[in-house]
């Protein structure tokens, strides 16, 4: 499965547009990690607890998008975009979406 942020795939021709595909997730870390993250907020530096949280969320959302694209029989997803929003405190919501296409 080819995933690109561009509107086409270099060297390939889009033969069919299958439609919008997306994947999303909201993940949180346990209270212990939240406590450590708050402490890091006091002293500064990278909040590795939330870096990990965002990484996990991004990969899970991407996997869900790929799964949806596969079910449509897509060869690639073009115009891939990530968005995030705040649904609850200390949680990461990631939505990734794009257009599933067939290639030649």
């Amino acid at each position: 499965m080819i995933l690109v942020t561009t509107n086409d795939v270099a060297g390939r021709e889009i033969t069919e547009v299958l439609g919008l595909v997306r994947g999303s997730t909201i993940r949180a870390r346990h209270i212990g990690r939240d406590i450590l993250a708050r402490m890091r907020g006091i002293v500064g530096g990278e909040v590795s607890e939330y870096t990990k949280l965002m990484g996990e969320s991004r990969e899970q959302a991407l996997d869900r998008l790929v799964q949806e694209a596969r079910e449509l029989g897509a060869d690639a997803v073009v115009g891939l975009r990530f968005t995030t929003s705040e649904v609850m405190d200390s949680a990461a919501e990631i939505l990734v979406y794009g257009t599933a296409v067939k290639l030649r």
Partner: protein, 147 residues
């Protein structure tokens, strides 16, 4: 008793055979009873493994290793103290709540029953969520992602 001389290649190369066995082994190697290819391959492998030199672990890696170890020990110690304190405080709170529910004659029975029911419900829900989390954690494919 017949011997599998191919199995003795390693012993021959390691000098573990006695003089009589060595002589016989060499004769069998010449006659082809012992696979020449296998013998040469094993000899080459011994030469290769013998030429490998272990590099000293860099000082900065040791520093990183010990920093990580101290960091983990500090964190664990902190969590132990924090957990002990939290367990005592939560237990004291629950004890006070139960005492109030049982002994507080000023509140009507239905209010005490409702408070107890709500507290019990919260407890059951929390245990349910915790159990689900522990079950999912075992197979969570995203656990290993660091960033």
């Amino acid at each position: 008793m017949s011997r599998d001389w191919n199995e003795l290649i390693s012993a021959y190369l390691d000098g573990e055979l006695d003089p009589a066995e060595r002589e016989e082994f060499e004769q069998r190697l010449e006659s082809g009873d012992v696979s020449r290819t296998e013998f040469e391959e094993m000899k080459a492998m011994r030469g290769l493994t013998g030429s490998v030199q272990l590099r000293a672990f860099p000082d900065h890696e040791w520093d990183r290793y010990w920093a990580k170890t101290y960091n983990r020990m500090e964190r664990n110690l902190g969590w132990i103290f924090l957990s002990l304190g939290a367990i005592v405080l939560v237990s004291a709170g629950l004890y006070e709540l139960l005492r109030e529910l049982v002994l507080d004659g000023a509140s009507p029975w239905w209010l005490r029953a409702a408070t107890g029911s709500a507290a019990l419900g919260m407890g059951v829900l929390f245990v349910s969520v915790l159990r689900e989390r522990l079950f999912v954690r075992k197979t969570d494919p995203y656990r290993g992602i660091e960033r």
